[in-house]
């Protein structure tokens, strides 16, 4: 199934209420430096394109860039790393969000039960940890709250390493936003926010991937 670029995936999900940091999509290293200045350092620069589903694995994400020189160098390298199969690519510049906890949230269409949402623990380790909970769509606020309660790793949702407890209402809102997206977007095959980073107790979609019908 084709995927949307990170920027387009985020734009779609943000329309349903998935919380994002402000990000800018640019085409050149110079524009990346300007964008970083506007957002404030440190920043993240990623190569962004519809064909780029697994950026971390390919080294297409540069984290914690603290000044213009670092941004320009990273942007130049990333553009050079794009291969002929990657199609049209751009640069996504975002503030460097910090949080000790990574979650994952998603939506998909189950062959037996239809549209579903998922909430789990773990970001890049999500599959290995496999602490995930599913619900069928549509779901209401009670269902969403029970989903959060259903995670086995509850300690991760309490105050953690100097950070406040996870805002459960905000987390439920992410799940309900994904539910609304899979319910109202007929062409949406799956959507995933990974990591869903907990920043000062609030969930923020740091990366997103939407699969669509061809």
């Amino acid at each position: 199934m084709p995927t949307l670029s990170e920027a387009d995936s985020k734009a779609l999900l943000s329309g349903y209420g998935v919380p994002l940091l402000r990000e800018l999509t640019v085409a050149t290293p110079a524009e990346a430096v300007r964008a970083a200045g506007e957002l404030g350092y440190p920043v993240v620069v990623k190569l962004c394109g519809a064909g780029l589903a697994h950026k971390t694995e390919r080294g297409l994400v540069r984290l914690g860039l603290t000044g213009p020189a670092a941004v320009e160098a990273a942007a130049t390298e990333l553009l050079a790393a794009a291969g002929p199969d990657d199609g049209e690519v751009g640069l996504l510049v975002a503030p460097m969000a910090r949080g000790a906890r990574e979650l994952i949230a998603g939506a998909h269409r189950d062959p037996q039960f239809g549209p579903c949402v998922m909430l789990g623990v773990g970001g890049v380790t999500a599959e290995a940890v496999a602490d995930v909970v599913f619900r069928l769509v549509p779901l209401d606020a009670v269902d969403a709250a029970e989903m959060i309660d259903g995670l086995a790793t509850q300690a991760l949702l309490d105050p953690f390493r100097g950070e406040p407890a996870v805002d459960r209402d905000a987390l439920a809102a992410v799940v309900l936003a994904l539910a609304a997206a899979v319910e109202r977007e007929p062409g949406l095959v799956s959507a995933e926010v990974n990591p869903l980073l907990v920043v000062d107790g609030r969930p923020i979609a740091v990366d997103a991937l939407v699969e669509v019908t061809p």
């Binding site: 199934m1 995927t3 589903a53 994952i104 998603g106 939506a107 998909h108 189950d110 037996q112 039960f113 239809g114 579903c116 998922m118 789990g120 999500a126 599959e127 496999a130 995930v132 909970v133 599913f134 619900r135 069928l136 779901l139 009670v142 269902d143 029970e146 989903m147 259903g150 086995a152 509850q154 799956s190 959507a191 995933e192 990974n194 991937l209 699969e211």
Partner: protein, 494 residues
């Protein structure tokens, strides 16, 4: 998917005024004999007839040569069909002529037997629909209904009467659950093997049970799911009025799906099914005994108001292990003993008692304080449920004395009688306190299976409740109660 238009008429299946075994046999090894035998031997009070191509008398019943030849005055609602599949379209037509409104078709040779069988099954369903006949099966083992005294099945056993209603896609699991009912004394209202579920699937029966005054809980086994979304909606509707305990076969099948995302890889059939159950308020069990014991608990214990459990034990080790199990079970809470409760219990027990939860009586039970302590603990507003351990221990010694060489001299007869009387009283007290406080009081001892005639577990059985074979199993059952009660509360307008 099934045709719900016939569902309201399931009374014809579960409360028939008369039954005819179609294709009854004089050979004790044949299903047509066994079915008639089981109906007659378990005391069904309605009219029982039989048909056999060659006539004759089977088990004292004069067999008619066909349904059309049955005595004209008989009122018969249910045909229990044991004839070969090719004969059954004609059987349904004859049922319709005769005003027989329901047929349980036990015959094989349908969908399970390939493409020809599938077509034959479609014809059977169409015939039932055309004639307005409630069709159960085919290829099912039968139907049991204790309020009606009905044991219309080709297998044993017949269960004691109770409030669990069973519907299963596997007939053998019906037997398993009925065997547990016989073993534990926690009885069954209705049970049906859905067979190929050609016209009526498990959920159709469950909806009937939800409206059945004889039933308190549905216990179901499923494998295949025809329409997951409809199943979810219907289960959720049932859960608002009655608990459903579900065991699913093939939970490990399906595996992971190919997808670009982690979501796809994580969305195994079983995880999605698990989420569906939680969302629908269904108590999903993972083993046959867990399923039965959860259902038995729903059928015989009140729903708790919350997760706080207090343990009352006559011996330290049992209490410690039970406390561990409660602590590890995330839906339960081992409640810290409230100060006023500690003071109240303190007045009843010797100074060496544990003074904390678990409440270890430390030998104080010999002063006859168990009913009093159970009452104090269960009545406290800070306690939602009680676990009682140590029942039967005195009677276990009494048995050794009674069977030993010194009985009845030297006071043994008197002490044996005393111990056995005490354990019976404690079992009664557990049930009485539970009823009066509206809180679950669960008793657990391995004597429930090691020596079921011990007056402790036998006393629990006499109260109609389950004596759990281990405290861990009681903890698992209790967690199902807590989860379901919480699901109901969260969806009940304040």
């Amino acid at each position: 998917m099934s045709t719900p238009t016939v569902t309201p008429r399931l009374d014809l299946l579960f409360e028939p005024r008369g039954v005819v075994v179609v294709g009854a046999s004089s050979h004790p090894g044949k299903f047509g004999f066994v079915a008639l035998h089981n109906i007659l031997s378990q005391g069904y009070p309605g009219t029982v007839r039989a048909t056999n191509r060659d006539g004759g008398t089977i088990l004292g019943v004069e067999a008619a040569r066909s349904i059309d030849d049955l005595p004209p005055g008989d009122v018969i609602d249910l045909a229990f069909v044991c004839t070969p599949a090719p004969a059954n379209l004609e059987v349904l037509e004859a049922c319709a002529r005769r005003g027989i409104g329901a047929a349980f078709v036990t015959s094989a040779g349908y969908r399970e037997a390939g493409d020809d069988g599938r077509r034959e099954e479609e014809r059977l369903v169409a015939a039932a629909r055309d004639h307005g006949i409630v069709l159960a099966g085919p290829n099912g083992q039968g139907v049991v209904s204790t309020p009606a005294g009905l044991c219309a099945q080709i297998v044993a056993p017949y269960p004691p009467a109770g409030r669990i209603a069973i519907a299963s896609q596997s007939g053998n699991f019906v037997s398993s659950f009925l065997n547990y009912a016989r073993q534990t004394g926690v009885g069954v209202s209705r049970a049906v093997s859905a067979g190929n579920a050609a016209a009526l699937d498990v959920i159709d029966y469950v909806e009937y049970y939800a409206a059945d005054p004889a039933t308190a809980v549905a216990l179901v086994y499923v494998e295949g799911i025809a329409d997951g979304r409809a199943l979810f909606e219907r289960l959720r509707a049932v859960s608002t009025v009655m608990p459903v305990v579900l065991l699913k076969g093939g939970a490990s099948a399906g595996g992971e799906r190919a997808a670009a995302s982690h979501t796809g890889a994580l969305a195994t059939d079983d995880r999605v099914f698990d989420g569906m159950c939680a969302q629908a308020g269904v108590a999903r069990a993972h083993t046959v005994e867990e399923a039965f014991e959860a259902a038995a608990t729903f059928a015989t214990q009140p729903l708790p108001a919350g997760p706080r459990v207090a343990v009352v034990t006559t011996a330290g080790g049992w209490g410690v292990v039970t406390a561990d199990a409660i602590t590890l079970e995330r839906d339960l809470e081992l409640v810290p003993l409230p100060d006023d409760l500690r003071a109240a219990v303190d007045a009843e027990l010797p100074p060496r008692w544990s003074r904390r939860n678990p409440i270890d009586l430390a030998g104080g039970e010999t002063r006859d304080t168990i009913p009093t302590v159970l009452d104090l603990v269960a009545s406290h507003p800070g306690v939602d449920a009680v676990a009682y351990l140590g029942l039967g221990i005195q009677s276990n010694q009494a048995r050794m004395m009674r069977e030993g060489p010194f009985h009845p001299d030297g006071g043994l007869e008197r002490i044996v009688a005393y111990h056995e009387r005490q354990d019976g009283r404690f079992a009664e007290a557990a049930a009485e306190v539970s009823e009066r406080t509206g809180k679950p009081v669960l008793t657990a001892t391995e004597l429930a299976v090691a020596d079921p005639d011990n007056p402790g577990p036998a006393g629990v059985r006499a109260t109609g409740r389950l004596c759990y074979a281990s405290s861990n199993r009681a903890v698992g059952a209790r967690a199902h109660l807590v989860r379901y009660a919480r699901w109901r509360r969260a969806r009940t307008p304040a």
